[in-house]
C-alpha cells in the first residue's frame, strides 16, 4: 500500500498540488462561514500541509497546526465547490494520518478506538454505559437525557440545553433475528446497521426491517458486524480503520448477500467511498472492497432503483422538510431519492428549507471537540428548519438526527426529527390500519 496518501508522503503531496488556491471552497465551508479564518477552510489546510511536508518552516506535529487540521467536519462540502476537483477527503485524512504517525494517537482516543476493534468488548461497554447513563445524564420526558453533575463541567456543549436520545439497554442487533427470510423473496440484502442505529435509534432499524419485509426482501443482520471505521479514520488512525474495514468485508463475504443496505450517510460513505480508498494496494482486500462498494446502497436508492418498491398508501397529514446529510449527498450522491420517496407518501407535503445541504454541525465527534463553532452551525440549521414551518425534519443519517434533535431543542422548535425510512414505515402502518 505504498502508493496511498496514508502511507506515502509523495502521494499526499501530489494531491496537495492540485489546489490552485482559488478560494471557491470558502463559499461552501460551514466552519469558515462561522470563523472567517483562512485556517478554517480547505485552502488554508492545504497550504499548511504543503509547508509542513516540504519545508522546515513548521513541523507536522506543531501544536497549533494539529489543532487547525482537526478543525474540519470532513463534510466534503468544499469538494462540491472545487473547480479543480481537489480530493480534500483524502488530503485531510492523509494529513491526520501523517500527524498520527509522527505524534502517535493520544491515549484516550487509543483506548476508545481499541475498543471499537473488538465488537464484543465495544458492545459490553455500550450496554454498561446504558445501564450507568443515569449517573451522568438525567432523564427527561420522551426518552431524552440531559447532563448532570460533573458532565456539565466537560465543556460548553454539556450545558442544561444539551439533549441526547436515551441509550438503549438492549441493542438493535440483540433484538433482531440474524436472518429474516420472506416468502416471495426478491433478493437477499445485508443490513449494515451502524453503531448509532444499534445503540441509539433501534427504532430506525426496526422500521427498515419492516419496510424491507413489506417489499419482499430477505434480510441478514450479522451480529458480528463492526463499526464502519469512519470515527477512527477522521482521527488519522488509519491502521484501526483498515482493520475494521477488513473485518467487515470478511463478514460481507460470509453473508451470501446480493446487496448491502445502509441507513446512515457516514456508514454508507465508508463502505461505498472510503474502503476502496484506504484498502488501495491491499492485495487481499482491494478487489473485495471495490466489489462490495458497488453493492452498497443507501436504503432510499435501494428502494427506488434496485427493487422498484411498492409506494405506501397510508395517509399521514404531515408537513416535512428534508435535511441532506453531508456524507449521504456529498459522498454517496444520494439526494433526489429520499425526496422522491417522501413525495410518494400520501398526505405528506415536502417544504424545502433554505440550504438543505448545509451541514448540521455534527461532524461526528467534532460537535464535542469544537462545541462553539458546531453550536453556531447547528443553530443556523435549526433556524432554517424552523422557518419552513414543517412539523418534522426528515434525514437519512442518525448522526444528523442526533444533532438536529439537540439543535431544535435548543432553538425551542416544535419539530420532530425522523429518519426517512421511519416516515415511510409510518405510512405503511397507516395503510394496514386502513387509513388510506
Amino acid at each position: 500500500m505504498t502508493t496511498s496518501v496514508f502511507d506515502n508522503i509523495d502521494a499526499l503531496k501530489k494531491e496537495l498540488l492540485r489546489c490552485m488556491k482559488c478560494g471557491n471552497c470558502m463559499a461552501a465551508c460551514p466552519i469558515y462561514n462561522i470563523e472567517k479564518k483562512e485556517s478554517s477552510v480547505a485552502r488554508g489546510k492545504i497550504a499548511l500541509g504543503e509547508i509542513a511536508l516540504s519545508s522546515e518552516d513548521i513541523k507536522i506535529d506543531d501544536e497549533t497546526l494539529v489543532k487547525l487540521l482537526f478543525n474540519c467536519l470532513v463534510c466534503k462540502s468544499c469538494m462540491m465547490a472545487c473547480p479543480s476537483q481537489v480530493r480534500f477527503d483524502r488530503i485531510i485524512l492523509g494529513l491526520r494520518a501523517a500527524i498520527a504517525k509522527k505524534k502517535g494517537i493520544p491515549f484516550v482516543k487509543k483506548a476508545i478506538f481499541g475498543m471499537l476493534k473488538n465488537p464484543e468488548l465495544f458492545d459490553k461497554g455500550m450496554k454498561a454505559f446504558a445501564v450507568m447513563q443515569g449517573l451522568f445524564l438525567k432523564e427527561q420526558q420522551e426518552k431524552r437525557r440531559t447532563p448532570k453533575g460533573f458532565m456539565k463541567t466537560l465543556g460548553k456543549r454539556f450545558d442544561e440545553n444539551f439533549v441526547i436520545p436515551e441509550l438503549s439497554k438492549e441493542s438493535f442487533r440483540d433484538k433482531v433475528s440474524e436472518v429474516i427470510t420472506v416468502k416471495y423473496s426478491k433478493c437477499k440484502a445485508l443490513f449494515f446497521t451502524g453503531c448509532s442505529v444499534n445503540y441509539l435509534f433501534p427504532e430506525v432499524g426496526e422500521d427498515l426491517i419492516y419496510v424491507l419485509q413489506k417489499n419482499n426482501v430477505s434480510i441478514v443482520t450479522p451480529k458480528r458486524q463492526n463499526c464502519c471505521g469512519m470515527p477512527v479514520m477522521v482521527h488519522g488512525d488509519i491502521d484501526t480503520a483498515r482493520e475494521l474495514a477488513r473485518k467487515n468485508i470478511d463478514v460481507f463475504e460470509q453473508s451470501d448477500c446480493d446487496y448491502i443496505i445502509t441507513v446512515c450517510g457516514s456508514c454508507g460513505s465508508a463502505l461505498k467511498t472510503e474502503y476502496p480508498i484506504i484498502l488501495e494496494g491491499d492485495s487481499n482486500y482491494e478487489e473485495k472492497a471495490k466489489k462490495w462498494a458497488e453493492k452498497t446502497y443507501d436504503i432510499s436508492t435501494f428502494l427506488l432503483k434496485v427493487i422498484n418498491f411498492e409506494p405506501p398508501k397510508g395517509k399521514l397529514n404531515l408537513k416535512v422538510t428534508y435535511h441532506d446529510s453531508c456524507h449521504l449527498k456529498k459522498s454517496m450522491k444520494v439526494f433526489a431519492e429520499p425526496r422522491e420517496i417522501i413525495k410518494k407518501i400520501p398526505g405528506v407535503t415536502l417544504l424545502e428549507m433554505k440550504k438543505p445541504d448545509a451541514c448540521c454541525g455534527s461532524g461526528g465527534s467534532y460537535h464535542l471537540t469544537h462545541p462553539e463553532t458546531s453550536l453556531k452551525i447547528a443553530s443556523s440549521k435549526a433556524e432554517d428548519i424552523k422557518s419552513t414551518t414543517a412539523q418534522a425534519v426528515c434525514t437519512g443519517c442518525p448522526a444528523c438526527m442526533m444533532e438536529l434533535f439537540e439543535s431544535l431543542h435548543r432553538a425551542n422548535a416544535q419539530c420532530d426529527v425522523i429518519h426517512t425510512i421511519s416516515l415511510l414505515s409510518k405510512s405503511y402502518k397507516e395503510e394496514e390500519k386502513g387509513n388510506v
Partner: protein, 463 residues
C-alpha cells in the same frame, strides 16, 4: 518591525480574539489565488471591526514603519494581499455588514468585507442588482474587488466595478479618515477620488466603507450558443453583433483546446470538431427588445457560417452555461496546475490575439486553452503545467512574457481585470512608459510618504 510590544498594542486595539500570532495561523495568510508568485508569512494578522481601529493601527504602523497588507477573501489573481515584507495583514472578514440599501436612490452602503453575492442576494429583494460579477463572487469581498477594480462576465454591457462605486470612506496612510462621493448621480466636487481609489490595490489608503450603485434587474433574457469551423468567423461574429447595435450581457468565447477538454471531461454534448464557440446572452426590461436582439444575433451568426442552439427554457439555458462553467474545471484536470492570464485587447483584435496565443503555445510546446469575455476583449489564456517540471516552468515564463508583448502590440492591456500586484509589476513600464511609472510614484509618495501601505505592489518604487 513586529515584536511583542507591537503585538500587544494590536491586542489592545483589536481585542486578543481578533489577533492571530501562531505561526500555523500566519502561514495561511501567506498567499492569495495567484500561482507562481513568492509567498511570505506575515508577522501578525488582525481582524478590525470598525474604522477607528484601522486608524489606530495606521498610527502604530507609522511609528514603527511596519507595512500593512489589507486583505478581503484572498481570491486576488495578482498577488495583492500577499505580505511581501512580512508586516500586518488586515483581514476584513469581520467588517462584513451591509449598512444600508437605499432602493430609491439606487445605492447600497457596505463595509468592505461584504461578500459580493451576499450583496446581490440582499438587493434582489428590491428587484435590483449590483452588476460586477467576477468569477469569485461567491467568496470575494466588495472591498477587495473595489481595490482590484474587478470585472466579470457582464463587462461588455454593464461595465466593471469602477462603474458602480459612488463614494467611500478611506483611512489614509497618514491616519486621517477621508469620506468622498455620495449618493448623488452627479458630483464634481474636488478631484474624482473614487476613480483614484478604485483599483488602487490597497496602496493609497484603506477602504472602510463603500457606496455602491445598483440598477434594476433585467426582466427578460435569452441565451444561445454558436459553433464555428473557423476562428475568423467567430471573431467576426463578435464585432458584427456590436455593429448591429446589439450589446449582449454575455459574449463569451471558447477555443478548440478548451471545447475538447470540456467535452472530454463534462460530456455536455459539444461538437469537438469546431474551432470556437460563442456563448451569447441578451437581456433587458422589455420582452420585444430582448427578442429583437436575439434575432439579430442569430442573423449575424448565420451570415458568419455559424451553427447555433437557442435556449427556450431555464433548464436549457443552464445546460448552455454548463459548458462555460466547466471551462476552468475541465482545463484544471489535464495537468496538476493552471496559470490563468487576463491579457486584454480591443474587441476587433480578438482573433489576432487568439492566433498569437496558439502560436506561442506551439513555440514553447505548452498546452494553452483560451476562453474568456470576447465581447470586451478580455481573454483568459489558461496554461496547463506541472510545477515540478523545471523545464516546463521556464518555457511557461517565456510564453507569458510573449503573451503580454503581443497583447500590447495589438493595442491592448496587461490586465483586464486581475490587477498588476506583484504578478505583472515587471511589465508595467512596457504599457505606461517611464512617465507613467514616475507619475504613479509621485502619487504614491504624496499619499503614503512612509510607504507602509501594501508596499511592493502596483507601483515599482525602484527601477
Amino acid at each position: 518591525m513586529i515584536d511583542s510590544t507591537f503585538i500587544n498594542k494590536c491586542k489592545n486595539i483589536f481585542g486578543a480574539e481578533n489577533v492571530l500570532t501562531d505561526k500555523a495561523e500566519l502561514i495561511t495568510y501567506s498567499y492569495d489565488a495567484t500561482p507562481g508568485i513568492p509567498r511570505e508569512i506575515p508577522g501578525v494578522v488582525v481582524f478590525p471591526e470598525n474604522t477607528k481601529q484601522i486608524q489606530e493601527l495606521i498610527f502604530l504602523a507609522r511609528q514603527t514603519k511596519t507595512p500593512i497588507y489589507p486583505r478581503g477573501a484572498g481570491t486576488c489573481l495578482s498577488g495583492g494581499p500577499v505580505p511581501l515584507s512580512k508586516g500586518v495583514v488586515v483581514s476584513f472578514q469581520k467588517m462584513n455588514k451591509i449598512l444600508e440599501i437605499d432602493a430609491d436612490n439606487l445605492t447600497a452602503t457596505v463595509q468592505p468585507g461584504v461578500i459580493i453575492s451576499d450583496l446581490n442576494a440582499a438587493v434582489s429583494k428590491f428587484g435590483l442588482i449590483y452588476p460586477p460579477d467576477p468569477g469569485s463572487m461567491a467568496t470575494a469581498t466588495v472591498g477587495g474587488s473595489v481595490a482590484e477594480n474587478s470585472g466579470g462576465l457582464r463587462g461588455l454591457k454593464y461595465g466593471v466595478t469602477k462603474h458602480y462605486i459612488m463614494g467611500m470612506e478611506v483611512v489614509m496612510p497618514t491616519g486621517e479618515i477621508f469620506r468622498f462621493g455620495g449618493k448623488t448621480v452627479k458630483n464634481v466636487t474636488a478631484y474624482d477620488f473614487t476613480n483614484l481609489f478604485v483599483g488602487s490595490e490597497g496602496t493609497l489608503g484603506i477602504i472602510t466603507e463603500i457606496i455602491c450603485k445598483l440598477i434594476p434587474a433585467p426582466k427578460y433574457r435569452k441565451a444561445m450558443i454558436a459553433f464555428f469551423e473557423k476562428l475568423e468567423d467567430a471573431g467576426k461574429t463578435v464585432t458584427d453583433i456590436v455593429r448591429a447595435h446589439v450589446i449582449p450581457a454575455t459574449l463569451e468565447i471558447m477555443d478548440k483546446v478548451t471545447i475538447q477538454t470540456v467535452e472530454n471531461y463534462a460530456k455536455v454534448g459539444l461538437p469537438t470538431d469546431v474551432e470556437a464557440l460563442l456563448l451569447i446572452e441578451v437581456d433587458g426590461m422589455g420582452k420585444d427588445s430582448v427578442e429583437w436582439e436575439a434575432e439579430k444575433c442569430i442573423e449575424v451568426i448565420g451570415k458568419n457560417n455559424g451553427k447555433y442552439k437557442i435556449a427556450e427554457t431555464d433548464a436549457e439555458r443552464d445546460a448552455l452555461w454548463a459548458a462555460r462553467r466547466a471551462a476552468l474545471p475541465a482545463l484544471a484536470q489535464v495537468k496538476p496546475s493552471t496559470i490563468l492570464e487576463d491579457a486584454t485587447v480591443p474587441r476587433t483584435k480578438i482573433v489576432d490575439m487568439l492566433i498569437s496565443i496558439q502560436n506561442i503555445a506551439k513555440k514553447y510546446n505548452l498546452l494553452i486553452g483560451t476562453f474568456g469575455h470576447a465581447g470586451d476583449g478580455n481573454l483568459h489564456p489558461t496554461i496547463l503545467i506541472d510545477p515540478t517540471n523545471k523545464d516546463e516552468m521556464e518555457r511557461l515564463h517565456k510564453a507569458v512574457d510573449e503573451i503580454f508583448e503581443s497583447a500590447l502590440s495589438l493595442g491592448g492591456t496587461l490586465s483586464g481585470e486581475h490587477g498588476i500586484g506583484i504578478a505583472k509589476l515587471k511589465y508595467l513600464k512596457n504599457e505606461i512608459g517611464r512617465s507613467g511609472v514616475e507619475t504613479m510614484r509621485r502619487i504614491k509618495q504624496a499619499l503614503d510618504p512612509d510607504n507602509i501601505l501594501n508596499p511592493g505592489k502596483l507601483v515599482p518604487m525602484e527601477d
